[in-house]
Symmetry: C2
Subunit: 361 residues, 2 copies
């Protein structure tokens, strides 16, 4: 078996030990005589799996006791509706549009109330986190919504957003567990699993308890945070297998030294890659220096043909899924938690080689 | 490794060859160097997986060309809201309440319009499919909603519901692919995967194309069938791994002879079990003869203590998850497609033995 370095933006690489354990336990989980996929979600064996997953996640993320952790379905895109349906009590919310998904979140929220874009970097093709401060936030807004890491454009909030007196709601899909954060700075955090957590089909919500119970009457029960919190994420059958895999990933992060250690490794990885790209004549970075993401590195040459050549040549060398999103073009290397340092070093060396040969590879 | 016979109502048994293949392909799917879990949903490898899954499902279920097949998240419970949000054009819908989940579907639909229960068997604890006919259906209702197989109570529509001129919407979560059905008899069919299809976290929708595009303005984009149909179920990242497993299950059904053959085996299995129970002094069946399910067999003794003893003694013998739902009590043997005939024979033999020994086992 020959594993590749997979720079996909999501779904993306998972830790190999997690996959190996999942394979080993596939037909008989710890002597139960069945797969985790076959297990009743109400069984003691599965109850232990979901409880341990939540407990590990809480430790790793240092989630305070007054926050609920929910394991949901539907991806961040479902949260784009669930957030206003649950939190827009007075009918006003502010959004920072720093990329594709925060734009989609804003558009979806418009269905439910008076939403306002208080800052955007659209005019520079989202190459930075737009500047704004507390004064830009409407004081009577129910919340301020931001996307912490913009997967497509490769940018990241490198300072905490100035949310003033209003609650801060944050999409952390592409950076959760990649760096230490102070959960108490946020009213709510949500993240699709398929980047740093586990398989697609699981969404994690961390929400302050006092925000529960205000869902609008048209809210589907499955999108009502209180319904899900009261049922311990089991109002209906949860995405059991994805939660099991996520639990193994949480444990992997914890055993490795937690998000603090993860952050150290991620900074090292990103540093290797950004420095390598900056040292070339052919390649340019998309994101502005103070907004750069540790997770998604966006870069390009001056020629779409050269970009294609680079992506194809890298794939031949076992480095795959490097094509950038069509809204940015060029290349994107997603180097989430599970991407080993060696994968980044190999890519950096290839960037250097490609540059030195002027693309004649 | 010692596999058990698992009579769980869902999640439930999967075909062993499917699990074995999944284990084998876990760290390297067909030479791609990655797990299906790690694969971009936009990659050619994944595109082939989802397209083949849909094509196989369409063949197995004989889905006509004017119906879309959608792979969604959120379980049948999310459909309880999505159905009225998408289909309640004039604001009226009729429901048959034949069990727990059709009751929940009705309750959820009440949020969105004028919904009416046209028939229910609640007064006999849902031991039968309630009688009704075309005349009971309001002619101006947008649809009639039924649940084809009631997992908790062990009942099943053994004749096609009389829906008159209105569209028939059907929850087939616990019987999809267990018997041939004529898709054209239904406007829409939906099913959570975790009984006959694959892992929890995937929901299949089969919907007639002319019903798309009428979603109410408050519909979350992720619950809008047209949005999902237009995007080929990839408006956002789908539950990729669950779809992959479902694709393997579809192939397993097809290779085995399709739903016609499956139905033959399922009738045989149910017959063995119902006859065994009917032949005892201790055990009684919950469901009335003309409403009996091939998938969920509900039975009990006259004593809750004896029931517990039976469930525990069966578990010791490798037959697990036989406790009935608290709304019925007693036992429930869920014998979905993946339950082998041997599992049913073993259970039938044990029922006979337990009865002959008067429970002194």
């Amino acid at each position: 078996m020959s594993r590749v370095y997979n720079y996909s933006a999501g779904p993306s690489m998972l830790p190999l030990p997690v996959l190996e354990q999942a394979a080993k336990e596939m037909t008989d989980y710890k002597g139960t005589g069945m797969s985790v996929m076959e297990m009743s979600h109400r069984s003691p064996a599965y109850d232990a799996i979901i409880k341990e997953a939540e407990a590990t996640f809480r430790r790793v993320m240092k989630v305070p006791d007054n926050y609920k952790v929910l394991f949901l379905q539907g991806g961040a895109s479902t949260q784009f509706a669930a957030v206003p349906l649950n939190l827009m009590k007075t009918g006003k919310a502010d959004y920072v549009v720093s990329g594709e998904f925060s734009g989609k979140a804003f558009k979806e929220a418009k269905k439910y109330g008076d939403v306002k874009v208080i800052a955007t970097s659209e005019n520079t093709n989202f190459d930075r986190i737009p500047a704004f401060n507390e004064a830009d936030v409407r004081p009577d807004a129910d919340y301020l919504h931001v996307c912490y890491n913009n997967t497509i454009f490769g940018t990241h909030f490198n300072t905490l957003p100035d949310n003033g007196q209003v609650d801060l709601v944050c999409d952390m899909s592409s950076c959760i567990m990649s760096e230490p954060i102070n959960v108490s700075d946020f009213a709510m955090i949500y993240a699709g699993a398929q980047k740093n957590v586990g398989p697609a089909g699981l969404t994690i919500v961390i929400i302050r308890e006092d925000l529960l119970g205000n869902a609008r009457p048209e809210t589907p029960a499955m999108l009502d945070y209180k319904v899900m919190a009261d049922a311990g994420s089991m109002y209906n059958t949860p995405p059991c297998y994805a939660i099991y895999i996520a639990g193994l990933v949480f444990k992997w992060v914890e055993d490795l030294g937690g998000v603090e250690k993860m952050h150290e490794i991620n900074k090292k990885k990103a540093d290797i890659l950004y420095k390598a790209i900056e040292g070339t004549k052919l390649f340019h970075l998309h994101a502005q220096p103070d907004s750069r993401s540790l997770m998604n590195v966006t870069f390009r040459t001056d020629s779409p043909e050269m970009d294609k050549k680079f992506v194809a040549a890298a794939a031949e060398r076992g480095m795959v899924s490097l094509a950038g999103h069509r809204k940015v073009g060029g290349m994107r290397a997603s180097i989430y938690n599970a991407m080993p340092v060696e994968g980044v070093e190999k890519l950096a060396a290839f960037i250097k080689e490609f540059d030195e040969k002027g693309g004649e590879i």
